[in-house]
C-alpha cells in the first residue's frame, strides 16, 4: 500500500492490518480526504487505472480519475461533504484510466471518522463493471442482429430451459421473450419430435450438429407450422458446453408451393413431371376421345392401369363401366368364359347364364392387362371381336354385339412375341393402334419426391395419421433406390413406413430392411440430382407466381435473396 503524509489517523497496529487487507483486496480501493485528495491507492486500483502511486497520491480525485463530463458533479459532492451534508454511499460512475479509457465502477463509500466524530477520510471500494457492461452491450448487439434475421433462434441452458429467443422465434411460437424465458423448450417450441428425439439434447450432450430436420411446431394459438430446424451446441471459450442453439425456418410457403407443384404435375390420378408423361398429359384427352384401341407397355408397377383409367375417364364412355381383366392370372378355358361369358349347360357346372367381361363393359372400356400372356386360341377370338364387334358366349348360339373400347397392357415386348410366333401379328396391329410406353421409375427419379408427397397425403387420409413426410436420410435412401417394382414398390414402401412410424416423420428405421442395407453399400448420386430438380421446379414455380420478382420469390420461399440468386445461377435459371 502506498501512502502520503497529509492525514494519518491510524495507530501503527491498525495501519499494518489495514495495509495487508487493502493490499490483498480484490476490489479497487481508494482512500481520499474530505477535500478529495487521494491518500491511499491499492494494487488493484493501480492495475485497473494504469497509474503509479506517485502519480496520484496527494492529488485531487476528480483531477486524476473523473472524466470531464462528471467533474462538476464531483466538485458539488465534495463541497456538500465539507459542508457536513450527506452524500450517497453507493453509486455507479466512470473513472478515467491513464490511457484515457473509461471504466464503469460501482463504488461503495465508507466514511472514516476521527476521535471528534468528524469525517476524516473516505474509503471508496470499487467493483469494475466494465466487463459486465461490455457483455451487456455485446448481448444487446447480438440480440439486435438475431432480431433482424428471418429465421427463429432459441438458446437454451443445459437443462433445456430457454435463455433467449429472437423476434422471428417469438412470432412463430406466439410466445414473447418474457413468457418464454426460463420455460422448458418443449413447452414453448412444441415440435413434433419433442416426445422422441430432442435434437438440442443431442447437440448439447454429444456436441453433435443436427441439420435440416423437417418437422412441425404448434404455436401458442395451436397453429401448426411446418419448419426446418437445425441445432448446435453452445460452448464457452474453453469449449465446455453451456447450452444449445436452435435455428428454425418457417416452411409454410414452401409447403404450399409443394402442394401447388403436386397439383400442377397431376393428371387424373397420374403424377409425374417427366417429359414423357408431360407429353402424354397433352395428348391423352385426344386419344381418349378417339375411341382407338390403345396398347400400354411398361414394366410391372409403372401405373399402366392408371393410364387406362385416365383414358376411360376422359372418353365419352366415362359414365359407363370400366372393367379390368388380368389375362395372365387365368387359365385359358377360364379366361375365355371370363371374357365372353357362358350359357346355361355350356359345361357341367354351368347351371345358369353368366355374362362375360365384354358384356359387363358394354358401352364402356375393357382393360385387358397382361395381354401378352394369352393363348393363340384366345388371341384369335379376341381379334374377331375387335374386327367384327361381335362374339359368341360359350355354349351360346346367338352372336352378341360388343360396344366396348379395348385398352390393353403388357410388361412384355409384344413385337418380340410376334416374331417368335407367340403372338398374332394381326392382333398386335389391332391392339397397337395407339401405343403408349410408360418409363420405369428409375428413369424418372424427378417424380420420386412428388410421388412420396402424394402417398404420404393419401396414407395420412386412409390411416388417420398426421405424418409430415420423410426425414432427410430416409428421403436420400428412397431417392437412391433402383425400384425394380416401380411406383407400386414405392407405394408399398411408404405404407410399410406408415405402419412402423411412431413419430411425425418417417426415419430410415421405418423403411424396409432391404433398402437400409442396400443404401449402406452405395450412394449413386441420383438422389441428390432428384432433390435438385425438385428444388429447381419450386424456384421456377415461385418465380412464376411472383412475376419474376426475385425479392418476393426469396421471401415466399423463406430464403435470402442472395441464396436464391446463387441457386438460380447454379441451376441456370434466367430471371
Amino acid at each position: 500500500m502506498e501512502k502520503s503524509s497529509v492525514v494519518d489517523p491510524f495507530s501503527s497496529y491498525e495501519k499494518v492490518l489495514l495495509e495487508q487487507v487493502i493490499y490483498r483486496a480484490d476490489s479497487l480501493i481508494v482512500i481520499s480526504d474530505i477535500q478529495g485528495r487521494i491518500q491511499h491507492f491499492n494494487k488493484k486500483a493501480q492495475e485497473a487505472t494504469g497509474f503509479r502511486p506517485e502519480e496520484v497520491l496527494g492529488k485531487s480525485w476528480s483531477e486524476i480519475f473523473v472524466p470531464p463530463a462528471h467533474q462538476a458533479k464531483f466538485r458539488r459532492m465534495y463541497k456538500a461533504l465539507q459542508d457536513g451534508k450527506s452524500i450517497p454511499r453507493n453509486e455507479k460512475y466512470p473513472i478515467r484510466t491513464k490511457e484515457g479509457r473509461e471504466l464503469l465502477i460501482a463504488w461503495d463509500r465508507s466514511f472514516i471518522k476521527d476521535r471528534r466524530d468528524k469525517i476524516g477520510l473516505i474509503l471508496s471500494v470499487g467493483h469494475d463493471l466494465t466487463p459486465l457492461k461490455i457483455m451487456e452491450e455485446e448481448r444487446s448487439h447480438t440480440q439486435t442482429i438475431l432480431d433482424s434475421i428471418t429465421d427463429g433462434v432459441i438458446t437454451v441452458d443445459p437443462n433445456l430451459k430457454i435463455i433467449s429467443l429472437n423476434k422471428a422465434a417469438s412470432r412463430m411460437t406466439d410466445f414473447n421473450r418474457e413468457e418464454a424465458f426460463g420455460q422448458y423448450c418443449q413447452d414453448i417450441f412444441r415440435c413434433n419430435l419433442c416426445d422422441t428425439f430432442c435434437p438440442l439434447k443431442e447437440s448439447i450432450g454429444k456436441g453433435k450438429e443436427i441439420v435440416n430436420l423437417e418437422r412441425t411446431i404448434l404455436s401458442r394459438q395451436n397453429r401448426e407450422i411446418p419448419i426446418n430446424l437445425s441445432t448446435t451446441v453452445w460452448q464457452d471459450q474453453d469449449g465446455n458446453p453451456i447450452g444449445g442453439i436452435l435455428v428454425f425456418r418457417d416452411l409454410t410457403s414452401v409447403t404450399e408451393l409443394r402442394k401447388e407443384l403436386l397439383e400442377k404435375y397431376s393428371f387424373q390420378d397420374i403424377i409425374s413431371k417427366n417429359k414423357v408423361f408431360l407429353v402424354l398429359f397433352q395428348i391423352l384427352p385426344d386419344i381418349a376421345k378417339s375411341g382407338a384401341t390403345v396398347l400400354i407397355t411398361g414394366e410391372s408397377g409403372t401405373g399402366k392401369e392408371l393410364v387406362a383409367k385416365a383414358l376411360h375417364q376422359l372418353s365419352p364412355r366415362k359414365d359407363r363401366p370400366f372393367v379390368k381383366v388380368n389375362c395372365g392370372a387365368l387359365p385359358e378355358t377360364l379366361l375365355e368364359s371370363e371374357l365372353f361369358g357362358y350359357k346355361r349347360g355350356a359345361f357341367t357346372d354351368a347351371k345358369q347364364d353368366k355374362p362375360g367381361r365384354f358384356k359387363l363393359a358394354e358401352g364402356g372400356t375393357l382393360f385387358l392387362d397382361e395381354i401378352g400372356d394369352i393363348s393363340l386360341a384366345i388371341q384369335s377370338k379376341l381379334l374377331r371381336v375387335l374386327e367384327t364387334k361381335e362374339y359368341e358366349p360359350l355354349g351360346g348360339t346367338r352372336t352378341e354385339k360388343a360396344d366396348v373400347r379395348v385398352v390393353s397392357a403388357t410388361n412384355k415386348n409384344l413385337w418380340t412375341q410376334v416374331q417368335t410366333g407367340e403372338f398374332r401379328e394381326d392382333l398386335y396391329y389391332r391392339l397397337n393402334l395407339f401405343p403408349i410406353e410408360i418409363p420405369p421409375l428409375r428413369d424418372r427419379t424427378e417424380d420420386i419426391p412428388l410421388l412420396i408427397d402424394h402417398f404420404v397425403t393419401r396414407f395420412n387420409h386412409v390411416h388417420g395419421r398426421t405424418i409430415g413426410g420423410l426425414d432427410h436420410s430416409a428421403l436420400e435412401i428412397l431417392l437412391n433406390h433402383h425400384y425394380p417394382g416401380n411406383v407400386r414398390e414405392l407405394q408399398n414402401i411408404i405404407e410399410h413406413a406408415f405402419i412402423l412410424c411412431k413419430t411425425s416423420y418417417v426415419s430410415p428405421d421405418c423403411l424396409p430392411a432391404y433398402l437400409r442395407k442396400r443404401n449402406q453399400k452405395k450412394d449413386n448420386g441420383r438422389g441428390r440430382k432428384a432433390i435438385e430438380e425438385f428444388e429447381r421446379d419450386m424456384i421456377l414455380e415461385a418465380l412464376r407466381k411472383n412475376g419474376g420478382n426475385a425479392k418476393e420469390t426469396a421471401k415466399e420461399m423463406g430464403i435470402h435473396r442472395a441464396t436464391l440468386w446463387r441457386k438460380m445461377k447454379r441451376m441456370k435459371i434466367a430471371q
Partner: protein, 120 residues
C-alpha cells in the same frame, strides 16, 4: 339413472403436461370429485395415433381434457362430443390438477404452479 361422469383426462409427457396432444405418450384420468392426488387410471397411448387416443377418451366419456397444444381439428372433435379442452397449459401434472380443482385453470393459462404445495 346413468350417473354422470366427472373425469378429466390429462395428457402427459415425462411427468409434465404434454406440449402437444398428438405427442402424448400417456393419458392420466382423474376423478375430480375425490381428493385423491393419484390418477384413477393411467393409459399408455404411445402406440396409438392421435385419432385413436381421441376416440378412446370419447369412449371413456371424460368431461375435460388438459393439454399443452392441440390442433384445431382434434379440438373440434372433442367439442362435438361436448368434451371441454383446456389447452395452453404448462407445468407438472400434480400442480395442474390442484389448480384445476381450485377452478383456476383456463385455456391459455401458460405455466402453472401450485403455490400451496409443501416445499421439498
Amino acid at each position: 339413472m346413468k350417473q354422470e361422469k366427472n373425469d378429466i383426462a390429462v395428457c402427459v409427457l415425462g411427468g409434465r403436461i404434454c406440449p402437444r396432444f398428438d405427442l402424448s405418450h400417456e393419458i392420466h384420468i382423474y376423478d375430480v370429485k375425490t381428493s385423491d392426488r393419484e390418477p384413477s387410471e393411467k393409459i399408455d397411448v404411445s402406440s396409438l395415433s392421435p385419432l385413436e387416443s381421441l376416440n378412446l377418451l370419447v369412449g371413456k366419456e371424460v368431461r375435460t381434457v388438459i393439454v399443452g397444444g392441440i390442433q384445431e381439428r382434434y379440438q373440434a372433435i372433442f367439442l362435438d362430443h361436448h368434451i371441454k379442452v383446456i389447452w395452453g397449459v404448462m407445468g407438472e401434472v400434480n400442480d395442474v390438477i390442484q389448480v384445476y380443482k381450485k377452478k383456476s385453470l383456463y385455456p391459455g393459462i401458460g405455466r402453472v404452479f401450485d403455490f400451496n404445495k409443501p416445499a421439498r
